[in-house]
Each structure stands twice: as C-alpha cells, then as structure tokens.
Symmetry: C2
C-alpha cells in the first residue's frame, strides 16, 4: 500500500473565483476534504469525488480540537488517500499550519502547500487601495489580536514601524485593541474594517481610529473581519464611493455597511 | 463610444497555476495586456485576443517610466478597450498600484483589482513553513528595502515587533541590510532567501542572519528574491531537506542553491 499525501490548500477570502488554478486542480483529485469554518462551504462542489469532513474551529462555537484534525489527516493519508485540508485565506498566515506541517513530517507523510489570497489583500482590493502606497508607508504588517494563540502584540513597536497594520481576529476585542493602538498612534489615523471582502456578503466601515470601536460595531461589522490601520487607508477615504460606483460587476452585490 | 476599463491583475510568483481563476477569466477577455517584467511572460498565452505591451521597470535595465504606463492605460481604456495591467505577485503589495489607482480614478476610468499570491507567501510554501507559527511570532511584516521608492525602514522597530520579516527588493543592498538587522536582532536569527519560488528556476538559501549577506550571494541568489528573517524560519531549518524530498511533483524541478 502506498502512502497518500496531504495538501494544505488555501481557500482564499470566499469568492471561489479567487481560488488558484492549482487549488481547483487539487480539489478535483481529492479523496478526503477537511473543511475549515472560514472557507466558503461551496468549495466542496469542486471536489466531486471527495468525502467531506467539516472541522471548524470558530471562537464561541463547538469546535474540533487541533490534535483531532491532525490525526484525521494522518489516518487518511496513511490509508493511501489524497487528503485536502482546506483553510480560509492563505494557509501560511495564521491558522495553525505550522503545527500541522510538523506533525505530518514527523509521520513522514508527503505534504504539498497551495497558497491563496489572504483576507487582508481582499480587504484592500475592496477598498481600492494599495496596502503599501509609497507616499504613506514602507510595508504592511499582518498581525493577530487573538490572545489565546499569541500574547498581546507590541502595539507601540508596530506603530513605530510605520507600516500599514492588517489586524486579524480583532473584532471580539475591538475596544481594548483600539485603546492600545490609540496610545501609540494619532486619533485621526485612517482605519477600516472589512468583513467577507469580495463576496456578496461584503460589509465595510471606513473612518478614524478613534471612532472605530464604536462606529464599526454600530455599522454591523463583526467576526470574521480584517481591521486595517494606517495612512495608506486614507487613499480609500478620499474617493472610495466614487471608486465603488465605477466598479462594474461588483457594486450591486455589495451590502453598504455605512 | 463607451469607456473601457482597467483591470489591475496580480500575476503571482510565476507559476501560471498560481493565478486565480478570476485572473485567468480576465486575461481571456483582455484587449490590451500591459506586462510587468516580474510577471511570467508566458502569461500572455492566456490572453489570445490581446495586444501585449511590455512595460518593465527592473532596476538597472532600460525602464518604462511610471507616468508613461499610466498614460497608456488611460489611452486604451478611453478608446473603450479592456486593459489588463499585469503585475507580479499581488498588485496591492508594493509595485505602484496606489498611484495607478489614483490616476485612473481621476480620469473616471472604471478599475477592477484582482488579487494574487505575493512572492513572500510562495517563499514560505517553498520552505514548508507558516509565516506566523504561533510558537514563534504574532504576525509577519512585508517591507521593501528599496530606498528610491521609500526611505530606510525603521529596522529597530521592525525587530521589536517580533514579527517574521519578509523583505522585498533587498538583494542589491543585502550587505547594508544585514548590518542594519544585526544591530537590532541576534546574529543567530534564522534567515532564508528564496528566488523564483514555486517555479522551475527556484533557488533558496537557509541559514543564520549573520551569514546571509556572504553565503546567500555565494550560493547564487540574486534579485528578484524574498528575504525572510525571524524565528519562524527555524521550522524550515529543522527539516527542510526531508520535507523537500517528500514533496512529490516538485523536488526534481528545484535547483538546489545550497
């Protein structure tokens, strides 16, 4: 019996057209699909031969323990099957891929990684901005505000970098997050929150950092959403509405959160 | 006469299978393709109806001025054509998309953005690591070392964030870059350089920060390449060779740089 393999597959921000061609090809050949809560469930239509197992881990919901997911992957791969582990966004940005890769290697199971679009990039596309406009910054930092997985980020250092901040998993503690950011950057710093970017359920809020905690929640934004903070966001503030009106094939599907 | 439109299309790190399905669809309908030097030139095979114009801007080579590129986009779009501006990686990470978006909006030309895989993500996939392994860091910072477009980054602040650093456009000044990093982080910090990740021309170097400037260049690494620095890179150091041997459909095409 030959050993199977595991593909860590990035499902992107939700729109199935934002999958890579490589991801679509892998799904077509999958025997087993382990499906993350953050991925669009319609992705299973691309894996007609596969047995689909849902292994969501969203905060507050009934969750599948990480160790169990790792055992599932190994069990099916050792049976000679092609296991596709579907993760929202890009598999290599947050989301426990590091531990899964270690476990698979220890079990000597071949593993392939297929990149995808992380929701921070999709949020920038939704706002019509570069994450790194050269008049505003030298880069962008993707950081998680999830304290269970990581300690509190060094917000002062992050602010001092001058990079755009793309904050993941921050909505459930947006009040304390904004307070921490406000101690390190001006109250007028441009900020945005984007939920389900690029999908028919897309919602967004755009404003100043000091209004974000109150106004974004009031506008109905909630997890999972990406929080963007930094001067580069001002490019959206200037003419985001004009830009949106011009985007054919897109505008009507967008739910205006503001 | 109707106005055309411009699509800012992300070509990803080179492998055409890492294009999104959305990108392939846009190319199939393109009238004009403006092709960046950093994109795989074979991408034009996906745009059979299009007139292709090369508008490269690589350092040291004959380059196309940014203003000229912007005029070209506007000229063809105002003729009613669908112009696809192809950019390497993700269009919203470095690469002047900010200025192009502003110019297009001022000219009231509809613009659509299609995300892609930035080379930092592809580099992590090549090394078999998460960019944000939760035992090592809380995030990842994408930063450019290109001093003409931006000033010198605040390396001390970047080091203090504890995030993995993914440094773009750093190979032409890797000596001064390493010196700056070494003043802010330990000499033993794990580091890697990956060129043309995920393509048959892929090359990589893996080692310690204090050896990088000398050894990566000696190993033949050059622009365009992504430099990765941070403790998360140690996950590759542990078993990258075993991991690579296990990656079917891939290993043979890789040129071992080390």
């Amino acid at each position: 019996m030959t050993t199977g393999k595991v593909t860590l597959l990035s499902a992107g921000p939700g729109d199935l057209d934002l999958l890579t061609i490589k991801a679509a090809k892998a799904l077509a050949l999958a025997d087993i699909v382990l499906l993350d809560d953050l991925a669009n469930p319609e992705i299973v239509s691309l894996a007609p031969q596969a047995r689909v197992i849902r292994v969501g881990k969203r905060g507050g919901c009934k969750s599948t323990p990480q160790a169990f997911i790792q055992r599932l992957m190994q069990r099916y791969a050792l049976k000679g099957l092609h296991v596709v582990r579907v993760k929202g966004g890009d598999a290599l940005l947050f989301g426990r891929a590091g531990e899964e890769l270690t476990a698979l290697r220890h079990a000597q199971i071949p593993v392939e990684i297929i990149n995808g679009i992380s929701s921070g990039f999709a949020a920038a596309a939704c706002l019509g901005i570069s994450l790194t406009h050269r008049e505003h910054c030298q880069g962008v930092t993707f950081v998680t505000a999830h304290k269970q997985d990581h300690g509190e980020p060094n917000w002062a250092a992050l602010a001092a970098t001058g990079t755009t901040l793309a904050i993941y998993m921050g909505m459930t503690r947006i009040d304390s997050l904004c307070l921490a950011l406000l101690s390190a950057m001006p109250a007028s710093t441009p900020a945005a929150v984007v939920q389900w970017a690029g999908t028919p359920s897309e919602r967004r809020w755009l404003g100043r950092l000091d209004c974000m905690a109150t106004d974004a929640v009031k506008a109905g934004l909630q997890s999972p959403a990406v929080i963007l903070v930094g001067d580069a966001i001002s490019e959206a503030a200037a003419d985001v509405h004009a830009a949106f009106n011009a985007w054919e094939n897109h505008t009507e599907a967008v739910q205006h959160a503001a």
